[in-house]
């Protein structure tokens, strides 16, 4: 069991800055993120894009901002559980919370700060009415173990890099790979497109375009998919294509994910908080900061996330240290004492006596 003062869900800019603000109050933090590295969207989606509205930075790349935030909070020795998604939360008798990830890692803290940004990115599911019935019974949105496709008939749908790359990879594993795409053109790396063309010519990949998977056939397990194919003069034909696996690869879309089932008040796909004080949710001890929250006048900006994190930490301190007196201090005056033994402070003026 990992224990900490503030458990932060989401290691994006807001989550990382929370570590620093909590550290000033001598509170330790641990962060959980489904992504394999800290930085959230800034490092995963647009690390090379410039941001222009971070105070004191006329321009900074999103990836560089992450690096600087990590540098700033390093002295407070945050813990990280990366590549795991916060799945469940349980309130304990002592008022603390236990948060368990999809991989079973347990974390306990008296305060939970949800800084989940847009949420977790989940596979975009095709609009097939009975697709849910076949999930993990032949329909997979993510390929975890390619071995399960050995000597099987696999249908992949999609037109991006994932669809191309997995078609190439599985052509050596599966008995038959069929790639279905709505358009004749694929949007992927040229190398991948060329390779698929080569494998198609060699008879190792069957390509069906322009076409869409419209339905799924089976009892308890997938037996076939229903394909609607258009020819050059737009005459459509619909037929069943026998297969053991159907893998729709239509990219990812941001969703709140399991957090939506934690009993928190949700409004407009975001977590409603009390913005008059400290961004606490309807569950005392659970806060939501940054893009994941909503309140009247909310702006989804990194700099607003920083502000929300700062205020939240003040209330977190009171929860963790009830009755303990404390006043906010300026780092310029008091310096910064890291948990790693480092101390940062302004150089002291030298007083020299005149003889």
């Amino acid at each position: 069991m990992i224990t900490t003062d503030i458990l932060i869900i989401g290691a994006g800019p807001t989550g990382l800055f929370t570590v620093f603000e909590a550290g000033l109050l001598k509170l330790k933090c641990h962060l959980i993120d489904a992504l394999p590295q800290p930085g959230g969207q800034c490092s995963e989606i647009y690390p090379k894009k410039p941001i222009y509205d971070i105070p004191a930075y006329p321009e900074i790349l999103a990836g560089d901002l992450t690096e600087r935030l990590l540098e700033q909070c390093k002295q407070f020795e945050p813990g990280f559980t990366l590549g795991e998604r916060a799945e469940t939360i349980e309130k304990q008798e002592d008022g603390s919370f236990i948060v368990t990830t999809n991989k079973g890692t347990k974390h306990q803290a008296p305060v939970v700060a949800i800084a989940g940004g847009l949420g977790s990115f989940e596979p975009r599911k095709p609009l097939i009415h009975n697709i849910k019935d076949f999930e993990d019974k032949g329909v997979e949105y993510i390929i975890k173990d390619p071995e399960i496709y050995r000597n099987k008939k696999v249908v992949i749908a999609g037109g991006g890099d994932s669809a191309l790359d997995w078609s190439i990879f599985l052509s050596d594993v599966a008995k038959q790979v069929t790639l279905i795409h709505r358009r004749n053109e694929f949007r992927g790396h040229l190398d991948s497109v060329d390779k698929v063309q080569e494998l198609k010519n060699a008879g190792k990949i069957k390509l069906i375009t322009p076409a869409e998977v419209m339905g799924i056939v089976g009892d308890y397990e997938l037996k076939a998919v229903v394909v609607k194919e258009s020819d050059d003069i737009h005459i459509e034909k619909e037929y069943e294509l026998e297969c053991d696996h159907f893998i729709p690869l239509f990219g990812l879309s941001p969703k709140l994910g399991p957090i939506a089932n934690w009993g928190l008040e949700i409004e407009k796909n975001a977590i409603k908080v009390d913005n008059s004080l400290d961004y606490q949710t309807n569950i005392p001890g659970i806060f939501a900061i940054g893009d994941v929250n909503t309140y009247p006048g909310k702006l989804k900006l990194i700099l607003c996330g920083f502000h929300e994190a700062t205020l939240m930490c003040q209330s977190a301190y009171q929860i963790i240290n009830p009755g303990k007196r404390y006043v906010m201090k300026y780092t310029t005056v008091s310096g910064v004492d890291g948990f790693d033994g480092t101390r940062k402070e302004a150089p002291k003026a030298v007083v020299k006596k005149i003889e």
Binding site: Y46, R124, G159, G160, E185, R187, F250, S253, N269
Partner: protein
């Protein structure tokens, strides 16, 4: 305002809105839709306008000459649902004087 342009947006319920869109605020079509609250908050512009989510997909029904589609938009539309020949992402259409008379329908939420 003389820098405003007239555009027509049909919302997801089929209601037609004739609105004025400013051209001096660096706004895109998705932001105009949000500013007029023509789609429920949280169902449009989810990614903030980075061509990452297709929540602002719309069908262009006028003959307005639009800016050319960039790779990000094309890639997103190749994976999105409810896509038609005239699909565009609202976040990639900037409000400029050339957009005067633009008519679009919002694609269904997905």
């Amino acid at each position: 305002m003389e820098q405003d342009i007239n555009i027509t947006i049909t919302d997801r319920q089929g209601t037609i809105h004739k609105i004025l869109a400013p051209t001096d605020m660096a706004m895109n079509l998705m932001e105009v839709v949000r500013s007029y609250e023509l789609a429920e908050e949280g169902t449009i512009g989810v990614c903030g306008g980075m061509a990452m989510c297709a929540s602002c997909q719309c069908y262009v029904t006028s003959t307005t000459e639009l800016p050319e589609m960039q790779d990000d938009e094309e890639a997103m539309l190749s994976e999105a649902f409810h896509v038609k020949e005239n699909s565009r992402l609202g976040c990639q259409i900037q409000m400029t004087p050339e957009m005067e008379g633009l008519e679009v329908e919002l694609a269904p939420e997905s």
